[in-house]
């Protein structure tokens, strides 16, 4: 029975004749799925040209009846960006075999990519009827609902998906929902579970680290970021976040070494150059700081944080005219931050424009709720103008804020600021105020700008404020507010 083989070869081209109606003997039909395996093998190897050739051949032979060939053709179209065409092909597939959940899933996916989330959810729901135990359907439904802003439904679907089968992606989307809702604690819960499930996923580790950073839980943040870096030492998000933490602790050299890796991977990242600039600022290399910050500003001209830092460095360099420009640009992008107005006022004071400086201080005092430095600087200006009453009022306002801060956090006050406040207190004859009872320790790492002539400077190192947006753009912001106090 083995000997029929030699005759086999001629048998296959027979399909071309199948259309001739007057043949006595009915021709054999080719098997529709004859080359599906080959199409699939080419497809998974990303050899799309070869794949298309086989598809074409197969479709010709079967007169367009081979569902899988159309299906893969549609997948390739989608990869090439022709989403509309791929959608049409998937719909053809759905006609050829209406019972297949896979086709419906792909139709829905194409609709999703076209941004038709509503239509996509409908098709996914249809597919879910055919195949109820598919995490992918649940997951994608969840993602669609996120885009449709139906977060409750999205959560339900994603939890369903997790119930069917756990995937990192589902955890990430679920975490995103909580972040969209502004619920950091729940998001952290989700990410913790996710990290437990897949402890080597650096994206999960980094995100969790960043969330801890936002909440100010530095120990855990550093732990997770460190883990992420162990598995992937070139993960730039984690490096930037960890680097910014090192910066707040004054480890500028270590941070700089780490930033080198990022500079190789993403040389055009604005937060990177911002952080490098602030490292140099911390090391008192002001020219280098300015050139790095200017590059950051060139890469992201609308980022007020970079402009803020540029303003700060220029103030330190006593380039008040330049500082004025950077700060006013920053205010244009971020008009709701008291410290910015205060810095602007400092610049204006030094540019001998007292009138506008006062206006800026008024705005700063109006906007700021917790930084005593704003009031102190304002008080000094008023005192220098000879308005002791106004100065006193600001001084008392400052005392209130200081008391509040002492109750709520273990923040150290900058010794220079304390000194200045005491001097002013004495001058205003309010006596030795008792607000500075906390011993001031470790004054070494605080930087102060050298000042010529009348200006004395003081700085307050605030707790590093890290990016509050849940987006993964890491942006460290060593905010060091400088203030100029003119002595009497």
């Amino acid at each position: 029975m083995a000997e029929q083989r030699l005759a086999m070869r001629t048998q296959f081209p027979a399909s071309a004749e199948s259309l001739k109606p007057r043949l006595k003997k009915a021709p054999e039909f080719p098997i529709l799925e004859k080359q599906n395996w080959l199409i699939h093998l080419h497809y998974i190897r990303k050899d799309y040209e070869a794949c298309k050739d086989v598809i074409k051949e197969q479709l010709q032979e079967t007169q367009g009846l081979c569902e899988y060939a159309i299906y893969v053709q549609a997948l390739i179209f989608r990869l090439e960006g022709n989403i509309q065409e791929s959608l049409e092909l998937f719909q053809t597939c759905a006609v050829l075999s209406p019972q297949s959940a896979d086709n419906l899933k792909q139709v829905a996916r194409s609709l999703f990519l076209l941004g038709k989330h509503k239509a996509a959810t409908e098709v996914y729901n249809e597919a879910a009827k055919l195949n109820q135990k598919d995490w992918e359907i649940c997951h994608n439904l969840g993602v669609c609902y996120i885009y449709l802003k139906q977060l409750d439904k999205a959560q339900d679907q994603l939890h369903n998906a997790l119930h069917l089968n756990r995937h990192d992606l589902t955890y990430i989307m679920l975490g995103k929902i909580h972040l969209l809702e502004g619920d950091l604690d729940k998001a952290i819960e989700i990410y913790k579970k996710a990290v437990e499930f897949s402890p080597e996923n650096t994206e999960l580790l980094t995100t969790l680290g960043l969330l801890y950073l936002q909440l100010g839980i530095y120990q855990k943040a550093f732990e997770h970021l460190g883990n992420a870096l162990t598995y992937d030492p070139t993960n730039y998000k984690a490096i930037l976040a960890a680097g910014s933490m090192m910066q707040t602790h004054g480890d500028f050299d270590v941070a700089l070494t780490k930033y080198r890796i990022v500079a190789c991977a993403v040389p055009e990242s604005p937060p990177l150059w911002n952080n490098i600039g602030m490292c140099f600022f911390g090391k008192k290399k002001y020219v280098a700081a300015i050139s790095c910050l200017k590059r950051a500003n060139y890469l992201a001209p609308f980022d007020w944080k970079i402009l803020y830092n540029l303003g700060l460095v220029h103030l330190t360099m006593q380039q008040y005219a330049s500082a004025f420009h950077f700060l006013s640009a920053a205010i244009n992008f971020q008009p709701k931050m008291g410290e910015l107005y205060m810095l602007l006022a400092v610049a204006l004071t030094n540019l001998e424009d007292t009138e506008n400086a006062r206006r800026a201080y008024t705005e700063a005092v109006r906007l700021d709720k917790c930084n005593p430095l704003v009031n102190l600087n304002y008080a000094v200006l008023l005192y220098n103008q000879g308005e002791e009453r106004g100065a006193l009022a600001q001084y008392q306002e400052m005392e209130k804020k200081v008391n509040l801060l002492k109750d709520s956090s273990s923040l150290e006050f900058d010794p220079e600021m304390v000194e200045m406040a005491q001097k002013l207190g004495a001058a205003l004859q309010v006596g030795e105020a008792l607000v500075w009872t906390k011993p001031v320790k470790d004054p070494k790492s605080k930087q102060r700008t050298t000042s010529t002539g009348v200006g004395g400077t003081s700085q307050l190192t605030k707790p590093a404020s890290l990016p509050l947006e849940p987006e993964p753009t890491v942006e460290a912001q060593p905010t060091e507010a400088s203030a100029q106090i003119r002595e009497k």
Binding site: M1, A2, E3, R5, R9, Q11, F12, S18, P21, A26, F29, P30, I31, L32, E33, K34, Q35, N36, W37, L38, H40, L41, I44, R45, A50, D53, T62, Q63, S97, P98, W135, E136, N165, H167, L169, S198, E200, K258, Y259, R260, I261, A263, C264, P267, I276, V287, A288, I290, S291, C292, K294, R295, M317, Q318, Q319, Y320, A321, S322, L351, E352
Partner: protein, 592 residues
């Protein structure tokens, strides 16, 4: 054969020959072998201790399927195949001496079995049961008890909801036009309807002994989402297992009669794990990507995904580890070095590397001149450790692992990444910058004041110019509420004749504008226009009306001037809007 004429220029590439673990035995870029790892097999086909390479070759472009047998660098025999080979396997069929393995080639719905390289047996997959309703319909058609139109309707009904899909015959019928149906039914009604499936993958499974040279069964994966286990002697189906999707890669261990574990990577991106007694998959790995290779290393299942990563899984589908690859994985296979007790995974990548991994640890990288699309490792000729690779362009590479070679882990993976040692690319500052900085320190206040004063002046001038433009309707957009208009002009041509096109648009939402005039003001010594003044037709809202006119340049001195366009309302002397057109220099004259 022709392939043997390859250049022996291997000695030229002595780069790191001495330090490398591999000896370059043979490289023929023109070997014309296009295949997959599943179609590569090493076997002692003649029982003489000389191992041959069996290649199920798809031919260039998948056009000339051939069975090739290679011995050393030469092709020993070559025979055409009836259809493209999906997989090749060598296995022992019976206990008799001499113990030469048989060769099985899966192709289409058949398995061709060769012994001593001679055709021995052809196994065809059993026909699938047709849909009974469909069968019934065609039987009615046979007896002419049903007309083609009803037949079509009924068949469509079956296609909509039936569990068992229709046969090709019915599907073809459903595609036909009304006029062709009659003939088709007459031609085909006498035939019984058939459903045939195709083999997608094949592997072997020991029958009842774990020995190296024990009798093995063939395990087939079909397009019909089934796995079949064949008896090695009688070629009957011993077991049939159905899967949720079409199998692409199979990995089996154990013995059929005792206990076996089977992993099947399927087209839906999942990997299903089965045991002997399970009729349904016991565990499932959802990869959320397409698997491109499946290899078992000791007890770990290593899966390559089309997202450029390797994953390790336990038998129960628990993920152990994942490694990212620098490029897409094209093919994978097992490397077994018996003398060292080493099992590792080889992965051929799209960037022309073959990487060898033991679990997560990279053991070695073999660089090849072209991307490797299929590979296998084993005894070839009389050499125990031979690596055989075929490339995308149809080349064949044979490398021999040195007998002294020992794979060690950690090829410079530890420590900080090299990027950390690179210097930061800092922007430099010039002397001029420093000087300017010093100047700013000295005269900052004055600079600031000058700047502010200039800024105020600039704003003032801008506001004045704007007010003036509004007053005299100089702007190309009219601001009046009654005639919201927009005008822009295009000049085409090199000269001396230019074409001037005015695009006039009524920007109101609903109201058409009637009774507009266009007037050109120009230096009559320089330019001539056929009409300097004309009426504008009714302007429908939203549309842009192109109004064309020719401008003749009269001067031969290569000078140009401004032409002013005024749009007026009938009976009003103040223009609604105006545009100044800077005419280009007439190049036609300049050249003459």
């Amino acid at each position: 054969m022709a392939a043997a004429s390859s250049s022996d220029s291997d000695s030229g590439r002595a780069e790191s020959e001495a330090s490398s673990k591999w000896l370059d035995a043979h490289y023929d870029p023109m070997a014309n072998i296009h295949t997959f790892s599943a179609c590569l097999q090493l076997a002692d086909l003649h029982g003489d201790g000389e191992y041959k390479l069996v290649v199920g070759d798809l031919g260039p472009g998948g056009q000339q399927p051939r069975l090739k047998v290679l011995k050393g660098p030469t092709v020993l025999s070559e025979s055409p195949l009836p259809a493209l080979p999906a997989a090749a396997a060598t296995f022992l069929m019976e206990q008799h001496e001499p113990r030469t393995p048989a060769l099985a080639l899966a192709s289409g719905p058949c398995v061709y079995v060769y012994k001593n390289l001679r055709p021995y047996f052809k196994f065809s997959l059993p026909q699938l049961p047709p849909n009974p309703l469909e069968q019934d319909l065609w039987n009615q058609a046979k007896e002419d008890r049903i007309d083609p139109l009803t037949l079509k309707e009924m068949l469509e009904g079956i296609r909509e909801k039936a569990e068992v899909p229709l046969s090709v015959q019915s599907l073809r019928f459903l595609q036909l036009e009304l006029s062709e149906m009659e003939a088709f039914v007459n031609q085909h009604k006498s035939k019984s309807i058939r459903r045939q499936t195709v083999i997608t993958t094949m592997t072997t499974l020991k029958k009842n002994l774990a020995d190296e040279d024990a009798v093995s069964c063939l395990v087939l994966g079909t397009e019909n989402k089934e796995l079949l286990v064949l008896d090695p002697e009688a070629f009957t189906v011993l077991a049939k297992i159905s899967l949720p999707s079409v199998p692409v890669f199979l990995e089996v261990s154990g013995q059929f009669d005792v206990e076996f574990r089977l992993a099947a990577a399927c087209r839906n991106g999942n990997i299903y794990m089965l045991r002997r007694d399970s009729k349904r998959p016991k565990y499932c790995i959802e990869l959320s990507a397409q698997p491109v290779g499946l290899v078992r290393v000791h007890k770990v299942l290593v899966v390559g995904s089309n997202q450029d990563s390797l994953h390790g899984f336990t038998h129960k589908g628990k993920r152990l580890w994942a490694v990212q690859m620098p490029a897409a994985i094209l093919t994978m296979n097992l490397l077994e070095q018996r003398s060292q007790g080493l099992q590792a995974v080889m992965a051929g990548l799209a960037n022309g590397e073959v990487r060898i991994y033991r679990d997560k640890a990279l053991l070695s990288i073999v660089r090849t001149p072209d991307a490797v699309t299929s590979l296998c490792f084993g005894r070839y000729g009389r050499e125990d450790h031979t690596l055989i690779m075929t490339t995308r362009g149809g080349g064949l590479i044979i490398k021999i692992l040195k007998r002294t070679a020992v794979f060690v882990e950690g090829g410079g993976e530890a420590g900080p990444p090299p990027a950390q040692a690179m210097k930061l690319n800092m922007p430099r500052k010039t002397r001029l910058y420093v000087d300017q900085t010093l100047r700013e320190r000295e005269a900052g206040t004055a600079m600031h004041r000058t700047f502010q004063a200039d800024l105020y002046l600039l704003r003032l001038r801008a506001a004045r110019a704007y007010a003036q433009a509004l007053e005299s309707s100089l702007s190309p957009v009219s601001a009046t509420a009654r005639e919201p208009l927009k005008l822009h002009a295009v000049v085409q041509g090199l000269g001396p004749t230019f074409k001037l096109t005015l695009h006039l648009q009524n920007t109101s939402t609903a109201r058409p504008i009637l009774g507009l005039l266009v007037c050109f003001l120009y230096n009559e010594g320089l330019y001539a226009l056929p009409r300097a003044f004309f009426k504008v037709p009714l302007l429908v809202p939203g549309l842009s009306y192109p109004l064309e006119t020719f401008v003749e340049s009269l001067s031969d001195k290569g000078i140009s001037d401004i032409i002013k366009v005024l749009v007026l309302r009938e009976g009003q002397s103040a223009p609604l809007l105006s545009a100044h057109i800077n005419m280009p220099v007439s190049e036609g004259l300049a050249a003459a």
